[in-house]
Every structure is written in C-alpha cells, then in structure tokens.
Amino acid sequence: MSSPSQAIIAINIPPEFGGRPLFEGYDPGTFYDESIAPDGKPRPEAAAMHEILAGMPLDVFEERRQLADLSYLVQGITFTVYSDGRGTERLFPFDLVPRIIPRHEWDVIEKGLAQRVMALNFYLQDIYGKQRILRDKIIPRQLVQSCKHFRREMMGLNVPRDIYVHIAGIDLVRDSRTGEYLVLEDNARSPSGISYVLENRLVMRRTFARAFEVSEVMPVDHYPNELGRILRSLSPRSGDRPVVVLLTPGLYNSAYFEHCFLAQEMGIELVEGRDLVVVDDVVYMKTIHGLTRVDVIYRRVDDDFLDPLAFRADSLVGVPGLMNAYRAGNIALANAVGTGVADDKAIYAFVPDFIRYYLGEEPILKNVDTYLCSRPDHLSYVLDHLGELVVKAVGESGGYGMLMGPSSDKKTIEDFRVRLKADPRNYIAQPVIPLSRCPSFDPATGTMSARHIDLRPYCLYDGEKVTIVPGGLTRVALQKGSLVVNSSQGGGSKDTWVLRGDGGQEA
C-alpha cells in the first residue's frame, strides 16, 4: 500500500501507451473543429502546435500531463462542487491541448464584448436611475421588477463613477453550423475562473515551452494589475493610497482558491465579513494595529449575504451596515450591488436591444435564440418541444437548475414540465447549439478525441473603456458527446491562446 504522500508524487505511464501517435484515428466529425479544418489539415492558427503534438510519443505526452496535474495538486488549485457527497474540494481537470484563436477572430470578439459590457452598464445605471428604457417600453417593466436580483435598495443610490459592472464574464460558444461566435450568457455578478486562466498559462509555459517559441501567444498575466488599477480608481476618498480589500465568504466557497490567489496577486488584504466593521457609515478593517479605513471592496460575496441588516439577516459572512456606508458614498463595491438584474437569463434576451438603445449600434456578437417562458406563446412552444431544448432557471448559474432536453430521460423532462408550468417566469429555453470542438486528451484511450468547448473571456470596465485579457477560460466537456462544460458539472479547462497574428505564415 502506498501512502497518500507517495501517491501524489508517483507518475505512472501505462505500459501499453508506448510510442503511439497521439492523433491516431482522430475524427474531427461533423462539428466545427477548432484545430483541424474540414479537409483534414490543421487550421493555420493551430498548425504549429499541432505539429508538436502530432510528433510527440504518447508516453512523453502522458508524463507531461501528469506533471501538469501534479502542479495543480501541490498548489491546491481546487474548486468545490456543492451537494456532492464526495467531499468538497476537487481538482479542476486541465487539458493540455490549447484552444487557439487567430487575431482576426479575436478582434471581432473583443469589440463585441466591449460593446456588450458598455450596454450592460448603461442599462444598470438606467434601471436604478431614471428607467428611461422602461418608459420607452424596450423591455417590459414586469420582467425587470420580477428579477430575483433586482435590488430595490439600489434605486437612486449613486455608485462611484457610475460603474456597476467592473468585472464581467461573458460566455461565448461557436456554432458549428455557421462558425460564428454567439453569446450564451452574461455573468455580471461575481464571475469566477480567471485564476485558472492565469494558472493554466503558467503550467503550459512550463510544459510546452517550445510551443511558445514558435507561436506568438498574447500574454494574460497583466490581469491582476489591470483589476487592481481599476479597483484603486474607485476610491471615494482622495489620496493616492486607497485601501482595497477582497471580501470572501470563506473557505467553504467554491472559489475560495481564486479569492486567495487574486488577493495575493494584487497585494491586497483577503478579508471575511467578521474582519470588517462599519462605524458611522465608514468601513474599517480590524487589524492588530487597530482600525484601518477601507475604501474599496472587491466583494466575492453575493448580494443576499453582503449585509445582514439590509438583506438576509441570517448571513454571517456579510458586514452589517455596509449598505448604509455604500449609500453614504463612503465605500466602493465591485461589482455594484444589484447587477443580477442584468444577467438574469430572461433579461439576456433583451441585451441586443440594450446595445441598439443605449449605443445606437448593431450588436457585433449575436445572442442564442431564447424563449421566455413568461410569455404564454413561448411557454406553449417550449412545453411542446422540451425534448429538444435546453431549459435554464433564470436566476441560477454554474449549470444548476438546468434541463438538457436531448440527453434527459422522460422522468426528468416531466419533472421540468411541472416546474415550468408552476413558475414560468423562472425559466427560459434555448435550442441546443452544436458547440465547436477541440482535440482533447482522453486518458481512458490514450488518444486525442474531439470534445465540445465554450469560452469565457473576462472583461474589465474602468468607466471609459473595456479591457479584455486576450483569450479567457476555455471550458471543455470532458465526457464524450456532452455539451455541458460547467466546472460544477464535471467540465475541465484548457489554456486559450490568442495569437498576435493569424498563425500559419509567421510560424
């Protein structure tokens, strides 16, 4: 019997792996493949990396793969799956084959995301302010007011520099039928996952150093600096040394690792609710030297739990009186309270209209067609086609409360039928998008297989412009045929490369 500590450092290469080529029998299939063109040749942007991988014996690859896994394990890079009896923390599986985006594609994505984040901010400012968009009947008032995350406490409250969403994670998918990127959902509350983007890059640089010599990959490591700059710029107090803290719910939260990581990278304090105290509408941090005034909170605690005086009284992870300090203008919160009224999945259907309304532009990135179950005509269509649609609960995220029609059994579908009828406002439905695929290593067979992927870029907004670190988190559905990529639902991740050029020629 080997002890756990021995198990951690052991690298076991199955003998049958030998020197087989990795791409033996690889079938790009009928979906859009991010690496291999329909003619069977590598796409220009992926060619250099493909050459390295195709020439690599399986045992060499496997060794690198296990080393990569090990580095995540020893660093404790984990996430938590709720309601999973197998213990709270898990490794987020990492796939060594990068997803590669050529520059001309990224330019479009970047513009489309910037446009979207600007529009979401204008919308929030409007909803919690004059509500022009409701008076102009661009979006039904009932839909907005019935959002679980519409915070009446935010009406008329002036947020620092009029920014609501400082950090957004916008999920994109590529539709295999058209090759086009579509927006699948917006995450405007506290999107997680950026730490994996940064860590994946570090691991890839170590594991495939040569690949970075032949491909010019745009860096991502400036994210913490950029976020830190934005957070400091929000300080309501003049002076050049604002105190910024990261507020975490604590170690039972699914993204606790990320909270520690980001606080460390930005050089700010990681605090829990009990470390802060509000005195006369000013927020202080309790330190061994006494109370230190806090100017900006990067909060990773949901609205409901943020202030037990204003919201849920049973929250022990919040800071009583924080909303009073916020209302008094003595503290900046990122993201602002109430941003969930922008990323509700029923509101999502109207974001293209927000772009037209507030910016006077056509949306660069399209939405996925969405049926609002609150509309009787949509609901009856959805109920008739449950077996072919994806149904999502509007206020949830992370793949919770979701029905994947085509892969669900009859009982699950009927359960959802009952839920939909009982509370239609709580659900939307979308057609199943044939997501693009990317070669991914299947440890069971020791070969590369095509697996479905999505992309979550992280957008930072400083009140004037939107900055997006090139790439983002590519999530991969590791189960064969699966279209669900959420980490909480058993997905993995890949490093995402945006090339400085379009690949091919300069390689």
Partner: protein, 323 residues
C-alpha cells in the same frame, strides 16, 4: 382634535452580553397630503445617533448602531402628527370584468402590489376565499374588496398569540385566528390574487374617546395602538384603506407609518447583533392627542406590553451560489 403625539418604546433585554448591534427603524409616520409628520425624534439607550433615509417605497428608515458591549437596548421614538380631514372619495362603479381588461397596464404600473409575496402566497385556500368574495359581492371592484375585508372579519377570530411575527397567511388559515398583521396579509393575498393592486400599511390606530361601541371594541381588538391594515388601488378612485381587523373603514384615526408588499418590508425594528445571547422584547406605545385646536389638553393613553417570542438565534450560513 386631530393632532397626536406618539411615543413608541421598544426594549430589548439580552440573556448575556452583546456587541456590534446594527438596527433599522421604520417608525416615522409618513408625511403626505392627508397627514403631516410635524416632528420625529429617536432616543436610544445606550446612546447612538440615528440617521434617516427614505427606502424604495418612500418610507423613512432610521438606522443606528451600538458597538460596545451591552445587555439592554431601549429605543424610544416620539412623533407629532397632524391628521387632515379625509375627503370622501367618489366610489368607482368599475366592475371586476372591466378590471380584467386592464390587467396588463395595472401589472406594469403596480407590479410590486400585485404579486404574491413571502407572507402572502396565493395558496388554494386564498383562491377559495377570493371566489367566495366574488360570489357574495355586487360585481364591482369596490364591492369585492369590501366583501373580502368583511369576510375576513367575520370568519377569523382575533387572538393574540395564535400566530407569530414571521407567520405567513398559511398559519392563519390553519388556525382561523390571528392578529391585524395576519388579517392584512389575508386581505392582500385575496385581492392581489384577483388582480387588484394592494399594499400593506403599518401604523397606529388612535383609540376613540367616549362610550361608543366601536371604541370599546377597539380597546379589545387593538389593545396595542400599533396596527396594520391594507390599501387597495381601485382604478378611477385611487388608493382606499380597508381594515380587515375591525371590518370598518379606515379614517383619520389611522396614522400611516410605512407601505410595503407585506410585513417583511416594514418591520418597525429590524436589527442584528453579535453575541450568543437570546433576547426578549417589550413594546409600549402611547398615543395621545397633543394640544387640541381649542387649546385644551385632552389626554387619552393606551398602553400594552405583550411578551413576544424571542428572535431565533443567528446561525452559521456560509453556503453561497457562486457563478
């Protein structure tokens, strides 16, 4: 005599030492066209400074905090209110059928006042009561709300302690008994489920003087001057008050403090503190006419100190949905 002085004392006694107490008060009477709040003062012991702001529903909220250790907290508010004579509103003859046509417009304008809420879910028993009221009424919106209010007054028993402060209508439906808060929630659920906008009103009921029968009833029914009732929005008429506890009209004896979707939006005192101590609560409300128009001082006081359930202890909550 239409000027009143209201003194509202809330006392918390803790079993042990508590610290970092943060509180919100919704006790300042509203100031609008039919009543004027001439003055309002908050005094706490231990001493703290109360700061006011208006919430989403236009109610005044005063917040204060006490950081050092303490075992008791006393909050006293004093308000002077001038009640204006209530002008009779012309009663609209709009029928329920006519109202149904306006459903979408009403929902757009009065969304918060139309949906089920935590205390006012549209459970089957509520829908049954709404159907009963509709059968018994004259078919007008006004008739329906009046009938619903009388129906509650007739079928439910006033009984202190039958429910508690966090009870939804379901508890009251089960026991067929409750207090003004429960009856108001019942009426809200019934009229909203029929598509009529309605809001919860917290306030004070000034006991009448004299020997009239109604006053005697009120001493029994509204032993505590703190009261709750309902306002219903009737198109072409506007907001009208209904008091399902007494089954009577709302008049210039009803001093309004706050509007909400239900009690949860307007608790008079809401707060959190640190410490493992349980707490008990005593409330004492005095209403008396301030100097009347003739300069005579007519005093009338009511007072009651009902024991209330200790608040549930806070318990650990670290689970959160992360995106």
């Amino acid at each position: 005599m239409n000027r009143y002085k209201l003194v509202h004392v809330t006392q918390f006694s803790y079993d042990g030492i508590v610290t970092e107490s943060y509180n919100e008060l919704r006790l300042r009477p509203r100031h609008d066209e039919s009543q004027s709040c001439l003055s309002f003062r908050v005094t706490t012991n231990p001493a703290a400074k109360a700061v006011g702001h208006q919430d989403y529903f236009g109610n005044w909220v005063h917040q204060f905090h006490i950081l050092p250790e303490h075992r008791k907290l006393r909050v006293e508010t004093e308000a002077v209110v001038l009640m204006h004579p209530v002008a009779e509103k012309p009663v609209s003859a709009m029928t329920l059928t006519e109202l149904d046509v306006m459903r979408d417009d009403l929902a757009d304008e009065h969304f918060d006042w139309l949906v089920a809420s935590a205390y006012c879910p549209f459970v089957p028993a509520i829908l049954d009561l709404a159907a009963d009221a509709e059968r018994a009424c004259d078919g007008t919106v006004h008739g329906f709300v009046q009938t619903a209010s009388s129906l509650i007054h007739a079928r439910f028993r006033y009984q202190q302690g039958a429910t508690h402060v966090h009870s939804s209508v379901e508890d009251c439906l089960e026991t067929q008994a409750g207090v003004c808060q429960d009856f108001s929630h019942l009426l809200l659920a019934i009229v909203r489920s029929r598509g009529i906008p309605a809001r919860y009103v917290s306030g004070y009921l000034v006991p009448r003087q004299g020997n009239d029968e109604r006053a005697a009833m009120e001493r029994v029914i509204g032993g505590l001057a703190s009261h709750a009732w309902v306002q219903v929005f009737i198109p072409e008429t506007g907001w009208i008050g209904l008091d399902p506890t007494s089954g009577e009209y709302v008049d210039a004896q009803h001093i309004r403090i706050a509007y909400g979707r239900d009690y949860g939006d307007v608790p008079p005192v809401r707060g959190v503190y640190k410490g493992h101590a349980g707490q008990s609560l005593a409330v004492d409300v005095h209403v008396r006419p301030a100097v009347d128009d003739e300069g005579a001082e007519l005093l009338l006081e009511t007072s009651a100190t009902p024991p209330l359930d200790p608040e549930e202890e806070q318990h650990a909550q670290q689970q959160q949905q992360q995106q």
